[in-house]
């Protein structure tokens, strides 16, 4: 029996509210290998779990707006291709043929081209939660819903089980995978993590006819947009930039994200935003995740996904299962160590610096 305890019902966490993008367009070797494995698992996911997750490889297009940015994207595209990941550098006219409705001649941020990963795309996020839950259930995993972990029991430096709102569960191996609240759970075992919890907002417009058949990201800020199968345009931007567990963002960030959207795609101004929401993210200090053992024997940690956790879902679970079963990391997640901050092996994809608000 492998019990899995969930504070609320399956799918009620961040997986139920996100912008559903999958991609593996990373620069650093550790990230490229891991996210590419994740993308490959996405490609075979529906057959594996026998559930229609609406995996749609509609492409992810990162726009660039300056010569320097083009060079950086060319470098990233080359790094991807060396590692066997698909990447195409498009010039301005090729981008225009793909997505003609953007503002190419914006005075401040003209579009010069883009880096395209055609195998990237979107996945129906709720179906991922439901499909995985059903597949796990069929494999013999007991999923206990509305059962919050209230304590982690240890003895002589080993984990021996957890306390929950519905009673204790004895276990000699425990994995923590609670994006957004990892610090609080780890604190139950006396651990402090290189993580802060921040709020990230996302938005959906009213449903419209098919308009955006890919995923587009703005290169002069942090803005990404796609269209859901229901017709709503789904978009988001940066974290609000301060610690929060409130699951509610601020208007200043709303304004900022909308401004970015208007710069990129002025026609957005004619649409009404139907919904917005804020989710709590585990922001790690270098912007990369942690899949590792902890100093407590038998206690494993899967945390620090920042706002990139959704695309990692299959590989994250795959590597975590491997690590727990064998008590050692898989080569794909070997770099995502908890102690990398102490040893200097940080994985800072964009070279931003050691603060969550920079990533």
């Amino acid at each position: 029996m492998s019990p899995c305890s969930s504070a609320r019902h399956v799918g009620s966490g961040n997986v139920g509210r996100n912008t559903t993008i999958i991609r593996s367009n990373y620069l650093l070797p550790a990230n490229t290998a891991f996210y590419e494995w994740s993308l490959k698992l996405w490609e075979g996911l529906e057959q594996e779990i026998h559930y229609n997750a609406m995996v749609s490889q509609r492409g992810v297009l990162n726009l660039f707006h300056s010569d320097a940015q083009r060079d950086a994207y060319a470098r990233r595209g080359n790094a991807m291709r060396i590692d066997g990941v698909d990447a195409e550098l498009l010039d301005r006219e090729a981008v225009r043929r793909m997505v003609p409705y953007l503002d190419y001649d914006n005075a401040r941020f003209p579009i010069r081209g883009g880096l395209l990963q055609r195998r990237g795309g979107t996945v129906r996020h709720d179906a991922v939660a439901w499909g995985y839950a059903r597949a796990a259930d069929r494999l013999g995993v007991d999923i206990v819903q509305d059962c919050e972990v209230t304590g982690i029991n240890t003895a002589q430096g080993r984990v021996v089980g957890v306390e929950t709102t519905r009673g204790p569960i004895a276990a000699n191996r425990v994995g923590l995978a609670v994006a957004g609240h990892s610090s609080r759970l780890a604190a139950m075992a006396g651990l402090r993590l290189p993580i802060e919890s921040h709020v990230l907002q996302a938005f959906v417009t009213e449903g419209i006819k098919p308009l955006i058949d890919t995923v587009v990201t703005f290169g002069a800020g942090h803005f990404y947009i796609s269209q859901s199968d229901k017709g709503g345009l789904v978009f988001g931007g940066d974290i609000d930039g301060y610690n929060s567990y409130a699951q509610r963002g601020g208007l200043a960030t709303v304004e900022h994200v909308f401004e970015e959207g208007m710069v990129l795609m002025p026609m957005l101004g004619r649409l009404r935003v139907l919904r917005s929401w804020g989710g709590v993210m585990d922001m790690s200090m270098d912007g990369s995740p942690i899949i590792d053992r902890t100093p407590i024997e038998g206690l494993f940690l899967n945390a620090g996904w920042c706002y990139g956790g959704f695309k990692a879902t299959p590989a994250s679970g795959w590597c975590f299962a491997y690590a727990i079963a064998r008590n050692e990391p898989h080569p794909l997640n070997a770099a995502f160590r908890l102690d990398r901050f102490a040893t200097g092996h940080i994985i800072d994809e964009k070279g931003q610096g050691p603060m969550p608000t920079l990533h």
Binding site: R192, E196, G241, Y242, N243, A246, G250, F341, A342, T357
Partner: protein, 86 residues
Amino acid sequence: MRIPCPYCGERSIDEFVELGAADPARPAPDAGHEAFIDYVYLRDNPAGRHREVFHHAGGCRAILIVERDTRTHAVFRAIPAAEVRR
């Protein structure tokens, strides 16, 4: 969220830049590797009362220590960092 700047009065959060948790204190130079790793990277990350450094970048440019609740976004007070460090 609005922050009561002691110099400018209550202002919108978009005038401020968050500079991280206020509680980690820089260890003595000879405190050792572990103490510095702790200072730079490890955080309490509380759900509740929290002290954070904010820079009033779009206002008076003061560095402030803001005490607030991370669960509700209620702001209790903001005081100049210089007064706290002394």
